[in-house]
Every structure is written in structure tokens, then in C-alpha cells.
Symmetry: C2
Amino acid sequence: MAKYSLKDIVLFENCDQNFLRKLETHAHKRRHNKGKVLFFHGDEARSFFVITSGWVKLYRETTEGEQAIINVLPEKHILGETAIFNSNNYPYSAEIIKAAEIVSYPLAELKNEIQTNNNLAMAMLNSMAEYRRRLDREIEHRTLQNAAQRIGCFILRMAQQDDKTPTEVHIPYDKTIVAAHLGMKPETFSRALTKLKTKTGIKVTGSTIELNNLEQLSHYCCTVCSSTFPCENSNITK
Amino acid sequence: MAKYSLKDIVLFENCDQNFLRKLETHAHKRRHNKGKVLFFHGDEARSFFVITSGWVKLYRETTEGEQAIINVLPEKHILGETAIFNSNNYPYSAEIIKAAEIVSYPLAELKNEIQTNNNLAMAMLNSMAEYRRRLDREIEHRTLQNAAQRIGCFILRMAQQDDKTPTEVHIPYDKTIVAAHLGMKPETFSRALTKLKTKTGIKVTGSTIELNNLEQLSHYCCTVCSSTFPCENSNITK
DNA sequence: CGAGGGTTTGAAGTGCATCAAATAGTGTGG
DNA sequence: CCACACTATTTGATGCACTTCAAACCCTCG
């Protein structure tokens, strides 16, 4: 039925099959439209979630409604699981940004299994370490790259995910969200993308970006960073 | 001899004593002056390190010498251990920024123990999760706070570490480093600190900061963030 | 086709960076 | 203990990047 099951999730790749079957018996699948908030930062966490289609943003919000986006996730990704290490409270809010199918599983089962199954604990450690690398890189990007370079870097990460030699990438959700994810305003995003066009020769039509010269793009974006292109271990979600 | 031993490190708090004794037999303690680089980003990792005194910065550097500081650590902290999850390469460079005593331990032993000892794996997961929360918060701060607010937030975190009702905090290393850690230039730091004085009534004398009105400070810095004062789980290193 | 959000564009302002130079502070050798 | 050398920090003047506010445009979907 489901497009993906737990064994397709990187975290559960080498996981005990009995445990996964047990988790599946508690699965609840739901379809959500854009705008739906799955949970709020600070909520008590009973479930973790798997995205089988659509996109979800993880964010924190001030009382004034200002948001800082922490991550944006597509299908085959998991969210909410880190509440295990956060007194069973979600450490961020999660909102659907593109109509999605989400499957929920009981967090308690996962917590229990991690505490007793060293393989799963190691898998979790690897996934946390990957996440940490992503955030370290993000700090670096915010420090060293300007707006246009951050956008270009984002495009490169999307391109890597799609294909070995991509000629075209597609922005899969609102540009407003991309802007916020990269720490800039929509207006700045729009203008910086125009600048990126003149600097690197990419062509932009709506949400489609034509990449005729990958090297020029990566040269413009990556030379200000510590890693040369492509960013170590990077794709759009890592 | 040593001011601290492994059991004083949070990560090893509830760790198997035999394992710690074994690690200690491989310990090498060294004193380093400011400026010494412990290892470079990308180096093959054979050791992890414990700081028993002094301060160390973790950073990434471009070919042009631009740096992005990832973290700044004091005594009782561990570094380099995440190379375990990074193909045994250090994911950042580490440099002494205040004369330090550093003890090195073999990384292979730690890796082996983590893979077989679930308690240690869980401790590591908790420490990774804590780190993740810190980075999530850092992203938020870079997104939502201005320079003066970031400095104030940094001061508050230092204050929390020192005391329940602190009246004075001491910047423990160069302001240049603090500036870089907070993602700004030294000149901006200096000016923003002046601004913070007029906004919150703190008094600054060299590296000593007098806090006569904690509430005013936290109001100025924390209202733009998702967490009210004090930042969840926060002190200077968390 | 019309409403509403997403996106772009323009004009003006703000905050931080840059470059340059003065000042304060620290550690060293004599 | 002092003078020097070197680094850290501050201050000033100016420029640039990003934001803000406002308005137009465009695209989608009921």
C-alpha cells in the first residue's frame, strides 16, 4: 500500500525485522494539506513520523510570529524522533508545506528499542552525526556565504540529489520557504537569484532552474567555503 | 595528578570503570600554548581529546584563511570524538585559544566500546542530541537576533554557568574569538557591546561585565527568540 | 473569472563590514 | 622593573548587503 515502509528509511536499514513489524502494527497514516501543523515546539511527544510524500518544515517561532526554519524534509525522512532525548518534548514545530502523507509510530517503542538494541543505537548515532555535520556546515554557510552564494549552494545540493549530471532542477516548494530556510527574506531571495543568474549563467523559469555550467556555479558558491565542491556528504537534506 | 579524569566528563559519567581504566593507560597529557593547532579538518583521526584546563576553538577554514567557528570549549570537555562517525576524519580543526592542558586517548578504543556497550552509546546519543539542540538554537539566533542581542545572549549563558544569581561575569578568552563565534567582526562586536551597555545598563570594564539588571538584559535579548529566558538547557557550552 | 497567496520590483533605510588609524594591553628580554 | 614589540581592542569614516515598506504582477485553484 504505502509507497515506503520503515525499512526504506535510512535509520532503519539494518534494523531488526521483528521490531519493524511491531512498529508497523501501530502505524497511522494520514494525508495532510499545506499549512497543517503536525506538532508544536514543546508539545509532549508520543509519536515520531515518517514522510511518505510531500514536504515538511521544522521550525521555531517567537511569540511575535517570527520563524527560524531548522530543516525542510521530503519523503523517506523521519521527524520528531529526537524528542526521545529531549524529555519527550518536541524540540521544534513541524508544518506541512506541500500536501503530504505522514505515517506516525509510537515513540515509546522506538525509545525502548534504542536502549536495548545496540545496532539501532549505532544507526541513530550515525544519523545524528550526519545531522550535526549538516548543521556545522550551515553555520559555516551563514558565516561565509552571501545570499546569492547560499542560493547557489542550495541549488547544487538539489542537483546532486537528482542526478549525476543534472541539467535542470526544480524547486520543490515555495520560494518563500527556501528563502527562510537559507536565512533571508523573500525579496532578498528574488533579487539574489537574479544576481546569481548574471554571475553563473543559470536560467530560471518559475521554479525550474537550468544548469548549463555546473562548474561556474560551484566556483561562484563553493570557493568561499572550507570544502570544495561538492560539499562533503551533501545533498538537499544532509 | 590530573585535575580531571575521564569519569568527570559528562559523556563518561556512568561508564564502565574497567573501560575507563583501560583508556587511562593510553592517556597522553600535553600542555599547549595559545595558537597551537591540535588537528586539522580532514586529518585522519587516531585520538580524541579531553581538555583539563584552558580553551579550545573548533573551526573550519577556507583556502583564503576565512574561518567559521563551530564551537569554543573549556575544561572538562571532549573533542574529536565525532570522527568516529566521519570515516575517522576530524570534521573540523581545533586550535588552542588559551594555554591548555590536553589529554589524548585512542579513538579506536572508544569506537569499539560504543559499538558494544549500549550504555555508552546512549550517553553518546544524549550528548549528540544536546549538541544538536545547541546548533538548532544557534541557527535560530543567527536568524532572529542582531549583533547586540547575540552578545547579550552569550553573556547570559556565561552567567548561568557561573552562578545562580550572578552579578559579574568574565569573558574568558579574546573578544575577537567571541566575535567570530557569534558570527561578527571584532569591530562590530566592540560597537554592539557599547550599544548593549546603553540598552541594558550592563557595565563593561575590560573583560569583566557587571550585571546589575539581569531581567533587563534577558528582556532585550530573549524576546526575539522562541524560548523565553533562560534559553532551554543553555549554558556557554551547551 | 475572480480571490488570494506567492513573487517580483522599486525606493529608502539599517546594520554590519571594511579600511584605516589610534589606543590599550600583554608578554618579553634586558 | 622597564621599555619594546606585538597583539587586542576601540573608534572613525565610508560602503555594501540585506531589510523594510509599498505596490504591482502573476499564478493557481475554486
